[in-house]
Amino acid sequence: MRQRAAVAVGGAFVLVSALSACSANTGGEPQVDTGRQATGVIATDPRDSAGPAPEVAGARRGGTFTILRETPISHLDPQRTYSFAGLMTVPLIARTLTTWKDDGEGNLRLVGDLAETPGRDVDDDCKVWEFRVRDGVRFEDGRPVTAREIGYGIARSFDPDLAGGPTYLQEWLVDTPQYDTAWDFQANRTSLPPGLTTPDDRTLRFEFARPRCDLPFAVSLPTTAPLPSDRDTGVDLGNAPFSSGPYKVTRYRAGVEIVMERNEHWDATTDPVRHQYPDRFVWSFGPTPDAAANRVIADNGADQSALSWDYVPASLIARVAGDAGLRARTILSPTPSANHLVINNARVTDLRVRQALNHAIDREGLVKVLGGRHVAVPMTTLMPPATIGHRTYDAYPAGPDGDPDKARELLGGQRPELVLGAADSSLEQQVATQLKGNLERAGFTITIRNIPDDAKLDEIKKSGNPWDLYLGSWAADWPSGASILPVLYDGRTIRAQGNSNHAYFNDPAINAEFDRILTLPPTEQSRQWAELDERIMEEHAPVVPLYVDVAYLVHGAKAGGIFVSSVFGSPALVDAHVKP
């Protein structure tokens, strides 16, 4: 009758032949910078905190810098922001008590931002801290920033309606996790929370019940962004923030676009880290990481001065890394984001089983599942290499692809049946499949149980959750062991839900160590954290360290000054500029 089939099939081949350019892959190993550690220190010399920031070589003023990202930034309200995108963006529109001087190579220095220095430990017991506010910092309407506006910013972070941001300061000031009931912001709008005082316009004083030696780090978070109380628009502030930084929001279309233009009241001489190179920053939301990367690679029109915010998708890495012409437009850098196979210690109580798990894991294969060394670098420690004072060790040396025989030997003939709870996202399913494969090779019986992606974190944060294993990751809010080990492994913090101690690990001796180290001055802590890291792994093996995330970014030919923040592993915008 008809030859429809022939016509149709013909059409199909035209289509597919366009795709099938093939040449043999002989597998050249990609060259990746392995983990390096942050040399972070708190700048004691006030000159480190002085502005202006050194000029970026080759940078010029002008142009529009575009940032492509799939999902919108959840909050631009400094007191509410906590996402990486928010933490990296807010510095453009808000200043904080302290901030990080970062070269993107791991050379970190905590300097004063609104404060002249990164704080003063008044009694050398970490309980009373004073910050002297810098002179000459102004809001976008020209009025000066004083201790009062900084205090108000911290106070409004207690407002339960404005939840979402970090909670360190709040919890430390009132010494309880239930800070919003301990001090009611809405009933005390004109006062400051207990423990926080402004002896004068240029002094901010914190008094804590317990030693809080990490305070200089904690006040680098945007909780300390200043706000005049008459400019507080509540939940709407996120759509129209009131700027104290080099840029101010001039256009906000929720979920679609944010445009920031220069704030003429920002004074470069007061700022140790920020610049004001581009005329404007434009955040454009919507394109998938795939689309964004492809756009930036194509390098057409406005995309020439654009950055694809999300990392290059694993599937495109071979293409990007294999293109010598793109090398100048990519940034490859390890991040402080650490990933573990978390063992539920409340369920898997046999140390030898946990050790066997550590021996069995094939990290090399895992990295392949993730997309190679441009995505992940294997790790054998609890803390990521980017942590201050980090020391590399391998408590259970099993080679790059695991040692199933050693694991079998530790198991001594038993065949533990373990349930691996995994989010139902495509990637985590594949990771779980790979883990299941190499654990079963070592004599485990693994059941993968899917958990809805968006519910997984809530579920594993519940103590008494029913799974034996799950994937967990932790990105610290500052690169100190204090914001990693006690947070993740202090068994006394375990509650019914909302736990960060996903491993439900609890050991009195280790807990005592936490208390001891936490009272030491930050500079002395780092070495001790590294030692404790190794001790925990050797004595208890509460998790299987897997890998740290690697940031792999691509940007347009005219986008300059982008580096990966050594603190958060995301692109930093303070040096961003548009090349001519």
């Binding site: 429809r4 919108p72 996120g238 679609v256 809805p452």
Partner: protein, 328 residues
């Protein structure tokens, strides 16, 4: 006619009511705490409880549903964390998007309309054109190619075609701008440029059904007596096809088109995902993932309104085109 309209409207309202109730129930049947989607990242049990109180989640479902519906009709007062007073039609406050859901809808509806309406025009033109050509040249190679083309189109997947087209025309050749949405009012050229790939892929895939349907209808009507009579009377070919056959063959096409467009307006998730354009469909999916009940309700209801309206419109058009149909 009036009676028909009243009856049809009543049934439509009943449908929308049922959809809203089912969505509401479905959401609460989810095996997860609805609050966790609305509460920000670092929530402790006490704060969860507060959010629950604020959202009235401990009230009986009927009360919650009533409150929601009252808000839609008359507006209502929400807590300070939800932006305070909310004018009618109040669709609630989205914690996830940090905005009133009405604003979300106002933002995404033009996007979906911009994708679907021109695409529908294209796919109808293409489909009916192909159908007409193959019916007129029935049995010839033209017919074979047209039908082969449309069957191939129907067998392709949008995400597949979209990905290939993107790679070729946008990333490699750079002939087309990157897909995206610009308001038609702001810049018509950019509007069209950003959506043209979506239109083309939709048209390519959807026209197949119309080509086949229209061809079959034409062949059927061309075989009918009145067309033969008209030709015997010596009316020119074009007049016969134009005046008689086309009109008779068009009503089933209208039916299918109406239903398709109605459904597509409810969200073209695949298209939106493929081309990275955030319209109603993507918003709905994101809302379900985030457990954002107010946004789920709004997107589902908006989609249902489109489907129901399209259904009604089809019935009316059908009666207009085909006088044999009585509205009863």
């Amino acid at each position: 006619m009036l009676r028909f309209l009243v009856k049809r409207t009543l049934s439509a309202v009943l449908t929308l009511f049922a959809v809203s109730v089912l969505t509401f129930l479905m959401f609460f049947a989810l095996p997860r705490d609805p609050v966790s989607g609305m509460c920000p990242r670092n929530c402790n049990p006490e704060r969860l409880e507060r959010v629950r109180q604020e959202l009235g989640l401990s009230d009986p479902l009927v009360v919650q549903y009533g409150g929601y519906m009252r808000g839609v009709v008359a507006g209502r007062e929400l807590g300070a964390a939800q932006g305070g007073h909310c004018d009618a039609p109040c669709l609630g406050w989205s914690y996830v998007n940090n905005e009133a859901v009405t604003d979300t809808l106002v933002r995404v509806l033009p996007v979906t309309l911009s994708i679907v309406v021109p695409a529908a025009v294209l796919w109808l033109l293409l489909g009916m054109g192909l159908g007409l050509v193959s019916a007129l040249r029935r049995g010839t190679w033209v017919d074979r190619v047209a039908i082969g083309f449309s069957l191939t189109g129907a067998s392709l997947q949008l995400y597949f075609v979209g990905a290939v087209l993107l790679l070729i025309f946008v990333y490699t050749l750079g002939w087309l701008p990157v897909p995206g949405y610009t308001s038609l009012l702001d810049d018509p050229v950019r509007w069209a440029g950003g959506l043209v790939l979506a239109w083309l892929s939709l048209a390519l895939l959807c026209s197949a059904n119309y080509a086949r349907l229209f061809r079959a209808q034409l062949l059927e009507t061309l075989g009918e007596d009145f067309v033969r009579t008209a030709r015997a009377k010596g009316l020119p070919r074009s007049a016969v096809y134009g005046r008689h056959a086309l009109r008779a063959a068009i009503s089933p096409v209208i039916t299918v088109a109406g239903l398709d467009v109605g459904a597509a307006l409810g969200g073209t998730v695949i298209t939106e995902t493929t081309f990275g354009i955030h319209g109603l469909g993507r918003t709905a999916v994101d809302a379900v993932r985030a457990g954002d009940l107010p946004t789920i309700m709004a997107t589902v209801l908006a989609a249902a309104v489109f489907v129901v309206l399209a259904n009604m419109l089809v019935d009316l058009l059908y009666a207009a085109v085909d006088p044999r149909v009585r509205l009863g």
